[in-house]
């Protein structure tokens, strides 16, 4: 059995590819858990899983910790993703700068009318601190500033989009694959997240998704990762709403 845990963003990719992979390899079982990128990486460092799914690169601190426990993490990129900033469809705001975004999340800007929008208090929705999505957002937008303590921390992309879609004043962020017509995604620095802008790197909140193994992947694990990276695997990636590597 291959055990695989981590980012909820990567979860749909991992699961869909695992199903397809297992259809071709009935003798191999893949067990998949979510939790968040931090969860997966921690479990890899603790030596309890085979593959850690992550929506961010490992932090240097994590790498040191892994080394000290005799774990040698090796990253495999498996897909591209953009983090879309989403608001309620009724919201007239369609563009935000990184600076504005940061002020919203630190609690400096409290009402949409400060940004030229409707007179509506902003409901700040963030991801759990364990998620890679949060890490990327934290790094690129917050730049070390603290998210206001009144922000709701939700455990998954899905929870974020659901909440935003039902809350007129809400703002949140989620992986591109989770953006549906029920929410409106806003441009960042005038650039709309799309396959194009993510691939060419113009969209500021783009990232790679990874799978980490302890040492070079061997046996079934390497077969599985190779399957994801193959064109057949990348098709499944696109079907799940993410952006393929090639």
């Amino acid at each position: 059995t291959i055990t695989c845990s981590g980012s909820t963003t990567v979860l749909p990719i991992a699961q869909a590819t695992a199903e397809a992979f297992m259809d071709g390899h009935p003798d191999i079982n893949i067990s998949i858990r979510g939790g968040g990128s931090g969860v997966g990486i921690a479990a890899l460092i603790n030596g309890t899983i085979d593959i850690a799914c992550s929506s961010r690169p490992m932090k240097s601190k994590e790498i040191t910790q892994a080394k000290s426990k005799g774990i040698e993490p090796i990253p495999y990129a498996i897909a591209l993703d953009g983090i879309a900033v989403v608001v309620h469809p009724s919201n007239s705001i369609s563009n935000l700068t990184i600076k504005q975004l940061k002020d919203i999340y630190t609690g400096k800007i409290k009402n949409w009318n400060e940004l030229g929008g409707p007179n509506l208090p902003i409901v700040v929705i963030s991801r759990d601190v364990s998620s890679g999505t949060f890490e990327v957002f934290n790094e690129r937008v917050m730049a070390g500033a603290k998210v206001s303590s009144s922000a709701q921390l939700l455990a998954s992309n899905n929870a974020v989009t659901t909440t935003v879609s039902t809350t007129p004043g809400a703002i949140g962020y989620a992986g591109l694959g989770f953006v549906s017509s029920k929410v409106k995604s806003v441009a960042i620095e005038k650039i709309i997240p799309s396959e194009q802008t993510v691939k060419d790197g113009t969209y500021k909140l783009a990232r790679k998704l990874y799978m980490y193994t302890n040492g070079k992947a061997k046996g079934a694990v390497s077969q599985y990762i190779a399957f994801i990276q193959s064109s057949q695997g990348q098709k499944i990636v696109e079907k799940q709403g993410f952006i393929s590597l090639n």
């Binding site: 055990t3 979860l11 067990s31 998949i32 858990r33 979510g34 603790n46 899905n158 989770f178 799940q240």
Partner: protein, 284 residues
């Protein structure tokens, strides 16, 4: 006088109202779960594994996982729980140890289940290296069930009149013979009821298995004690919070909840029926 009668009527109406509100809440709760879960329920839902990134298919691996976790937990917890109760009721010396053990059992009974989860993770998963597995999860659940089983068994044994033990001892039986031939058979129905109730409790626990046993998706059933398993309660939680296709996954979560609810209610109802049957039949 009229004031007192008025008060009386008022309070009786209040109590009635309280019961009605309570019943109302609970009826809404049950009806809601049933009405949302029933549409996805089918034979296939029970016997098929999940498919298409958890948007189709059933919950078979989770059902089996919960069964295995519970059964193993009981295999670990029942013997030690029953023997602890036997020691407490029949050997129990020195007295201070009995008192301390009672405090320990009551304390354990009150510990939040998430702490059992933490403990299981720290000890079984990490320290002993069992990883996230059926074994870690069922050991954790066993410890959680232990105080419940001990308390129930102790009560069951106490409900057997001391006359029986005395009669047995006076015939030259040893303590062991008295327990195994007289006390235990007489207490068995009550011990069983207690055990069944703890099965119901264990089957529904989520927090303790979150870090020790449960996985979001696994197609095949576990092959060994070292494997991760799907479990009904965790499945509900994971679908609601980590699911990636809410339109099709939330109904599955409801279906799973309904299955779990029916399972637990059936288990507990069995216990309650056995108990009331035995109470009527009991001749002492």
């Amino acid at each position: 006088m009229n004031r007192r009668k008025g008060k009386n009527t008022f309070w009786i109406m209040m109590m009635t109202l309280m019961l009605i509100i309570t019943a109302g809440f609970l009826v809404v709760f049950i009806v809601r779960i049933i009405s949302l879960g029933a549409p996805v329920l089918s034979w296939k839902f029970i016997v098929e594994p999940p498919r298409e990134a958890m948007t189709e298919g059933g919950i078979f691996p989770a059902l089996i996982g919960t069964f295995l976790l519970t059964a193993l937990a009981m295999i670990f917890a029942l013997p030690s729980g029953i023997f602890t109760a036997i020691w407490l009721t029949h050997y129990g010396k020195p007295q201070w140890l009995v008192n301390i053990l009672h405090i320990i059992i009551n304390t354990m009974a009150g510990i939040p289940s998430i702490i059992f989860g933490l403990f299981g993770m720290a000890i079984f998963v990490n320290l002993l290296g069992f990883k996230v597995s059926l074994l870690s999860g069922s050991l954790t659940l066993a410890i959680l069930a232990l105080p419940v089983i001990i308390n129930n068994t102790e009560q069951a044994i106490h409900s057997v009149p001391a006359d029986f033990s005395e009669a047995s001892l006076a015939l030259g039986a040893t303590t062991r013979q008295t327990i195994s031939k007289v006390v235990f058979p007489a207490a068995l129905p009550n011990i069983l009821t207690g055990a069944i109730i703890s099965v119901g409790r264990v089957a529904g626990e989520t927090a303790p298995i979150m870090f020790t046993a449960a996985t979001f998706y696994s197609r095949s059933l576990p092959h060994s004690l070292q494997d991760e398993v799907m479990a009904l309660p965790y499945h509900i939680y994971a679908l609601m919070t980590e699911g990636t296709h809410p339109e099709s996954q939330v109904p599955i979560a409801y279906g799973t909840a309904l299955v779990l609810l029916i399972l637990v209610i059936l288990i507990d109802a069995t216990a309650i029926i056995i108990r009331s049957y035995m109470r009527k039949k009991r001749q002492w």
